[in-house]
Subunit: 417 residues, 2 copies
């Protein structure tokens, strides 16, 4: 079954609105094991709508159109559909009743353009819009289906959930899909692919689909296949093998975030944390407080961007700063130890590095970051060398520190390859 989405609206093409309808519809279809095959965005133009309909109906079984159903002059989708399917517009009584109620309820005067919203092409099935005034429409074209929906996301979603999916499940026999998405921190997609080359070959041979989705120091790897017990067990066993090969980098699944995982571990262990941040300037702590309820374990931090603050608030010795520099294992270790005392927490994370783009030298290049953790059992420091981009160096430092903390809380050795 081939599904295609056509989004109509100038605003999507000139950068005024980010198109979120496609990803929402695509995600919902995956619940039924159906992949959206194509999506396109076109202007509110008669010729473009007709051209796209020709292409879409030719190559797809189901075409979902969003947008261009509003009451204003630039919204022409309904008229073009009426012309395209050669079925004249006529007033639908249920929709007219709905539109009148909508305006009565809000004590607004109903205009002709609003009454026109009750016009629908003869022969189409009306999909009532409980949250707005423009109805959706369902067209049966031989064994294919074309559906037109409003572009406003919450109206579109409501009609899809309440009316379109139940009708589609009936009409097309949706096949179920089994899928899991696993998450890695601090390792690139090509490095992972190299380490699991043998498993990739098995997946290719056994029709298990896999896709890498890298973004900013996190890589997502999705495995999916037809939903049956053989595939399910194969995917589960492959994931178990991958997990063993990446004890430090493999941190979770699906919608997990490092802040979530670390937060749950800290609540379980009844431990508290704080941080001493230099190069990340508060970014580590900000990532921690993204989680509602983080006040249970996060107590506070000291951001010591200048050496004077390192000395005054954290008792770092001037001699150490002069001898080893602020970006050094010795200073980062002391930042963690002293921060733990000053903040009165169980675990204190410390970060110091050269975010760039300036400030590096041969011995200490841009991208060099030291991260320390002082905890009840031990103090550890780890050296990282990231890129030459300031923003990404800061982001990678934050995620690396979160992952180090996760490993420390789980007693995972981060030194082993």
């Amino acid at each position: 079954m081939k599904v295609e989405i056509i989004c109509i609206g100038d605003e999507l093409l000139i950068g005024q609105t980010i198109n979120t309808n496609v990803s929402w519809i695509g995600f919902e279809f995956m619940n039924y094991g159906v992949k959206v095959n194509f999506s396109s965005v076109i202007k509110d133009s008669r010729a473009d709508i007709i051209y796209s309909l020709d292409v879409a109906i030719n190559r797809s079984d189901l075409v979902i159109i969003t947008g261009g159903l509003g009451p204003t002059k630039d919204d022409i989708t309904k008229n073009v559909l009426s012309e395209y399917f050669n079925s004249e517009l006529q007033i639908n009584k249920d929709v007219l009743k709905r539109v009148k109620e909508y305006f009565d309820k809000r004590k607004l005067k109903i205009l002709d353009v609003n009454i026109n919203q009750a016009l629908v092409p003869k022969g189409s099935t009306v999909l009532m819009n409980d949250l707005g005034t423009a109805p959706g429409m369902w067209f049966d074209i031989k064994d294919k289906v074309v559906i037109s929906l409003p572009g406003v996301p919450y109206e579109m979603k409501e009609i899809m959930k309440k009316q379109v999916f139940p009708l589609l499940k009936n009409k097309f026999k949706f096949q179920s899909l089994f899928q899991r998405t696993i998450l890695f921190q601090g390792v690139g997609e090509s490095y992972i692919a190299n380490i699991i080359d043998d498993l990739e070959k098995i997946m290719l041979a056994k029709n298990i689909n896999f896709a890498y989705l890298p973004s900013n120091s996190i890589v997502r790897l999705r495995l999916s296949a037809k939903d049956n017990i053989v595939n399910k067990e194969l995917i589960d066993s492959i994931i178990l093998k991958i997990k063993k090969r990446f004890p430090f980098n493999f941190f979770g699944e699906d919608d997990d975030t490092l802040s979530d995982i670390v937060g749950r571990l800290l609540i379980d262990k009844k431990n508290t944390i704080g941080a001493v941040e230099s190069c990340t300037g508060g970014g580590f702590s900000k990532e921690i407080v993204r989680i509602s309820g983080s006040s249970q374990y996060f107590k506070g931090s000291i951001i010591c961007y200048s050496n004077l603050i390192k000395m005054n608030l954290l008792d770092i010795q001037k001699l150490d700063l002069d001898t080893y520099g602020a970006v050094s294992d010795i200073v980062v270790k002391k930042m963690a130890i002293n921060g733990r005392k000053k903040l009165g927490v169980d675990y204190c994370i410390s970060l110091s590095g050269i975010a760039g783009p300036r400030g590096g030298n041969k011995e200490k290049p841009v991208g060099l970051v030291w991260i320390g953790i002082a905890g009840p059992k031990r103090v550890r420091v780890k050296r990282f060398l990231f890129s030459d981009n300031r923003e990404r160096n800061i982001q990678k430092s934050i995620f690396s520190a979160l992952n180090l903390l996760r490993c420390e809380l789980l007693d995972i050795n981060t030194e082993k390859k």
Copy 2:
């Protein structure tokens, strides 16, 4: 001139990634008065890529392809393009050098899949990727152009800005457009529209295009028209009027950010800053250190998420916390004053609020935030009431604090309407 975008990647169709590339590219083309006509999203599938290229090259003058250039097996764009344009892949020395440097610099072992990134179809022009390893490619097809770029947004944007737009301006004769984009903080799009209703009418009458682009507490308003002296003077005079009506909210133009502006002001005045953050958990400071060179004025911060840290590190009295609460004008004022002393800075910003979604009550609802500034001349506090969304409340607090600091440095009265 017809421009079309093809985005390649399963992740965009199954809802794992929201496609932001199209809106960015669409927005950038508007700088040259060019509207994107079509965009489509397709899977990493040979047949679909070929089909879409057929359709796109038939109806458009310029086709921009993003995605599918990674080193892993699911990325097939380059091979399909080589097949489609009947030009074999060959190693490009410059790209190979770049890839090798990239891995050497990071002390990573270079793999065969990485060396393959240096393969490009014969006859295509290479667009070097300074931020990644997959190069872009430019194909001249008679008088039409097909460009293939990586899908990672920051890599794509860098190649577009530095290489593609300059080449396109040369090849296609872009009509000149005069435009200015002005920036507002802390005020909504419909509120602005209401205040400048008279100016909008003038713009409509005089063919000055205007578009609002709201995002997370910042609204961008772009004014554009054919590039001539009359339009230029009209746009300049309208912007001057708008600026006068929004002395607090109007903060800059084009690519200005509040952190940039505040940073430049602090350097000019040779002043230093620090912060005392509660509800924002380090987010204000992180926004400050986004700017390279911020160590000239930013010294450090204390993140006092718990009351104990407010007492221990900032000498906030237990009696004040018990009497007024941590989210109160009195406590926020003392946080700013005491933070200024502890951090030894000229200006100290303090923030305390209820980010939510829990923790609010009738008297102090979710979204209530107090922001204070202690400076050489005075101490001020201001009350804000945001929404019920934690993430947006934190973001709005950060930007509001930056804008308050900007106004304080410029002696702008923030109390007046």
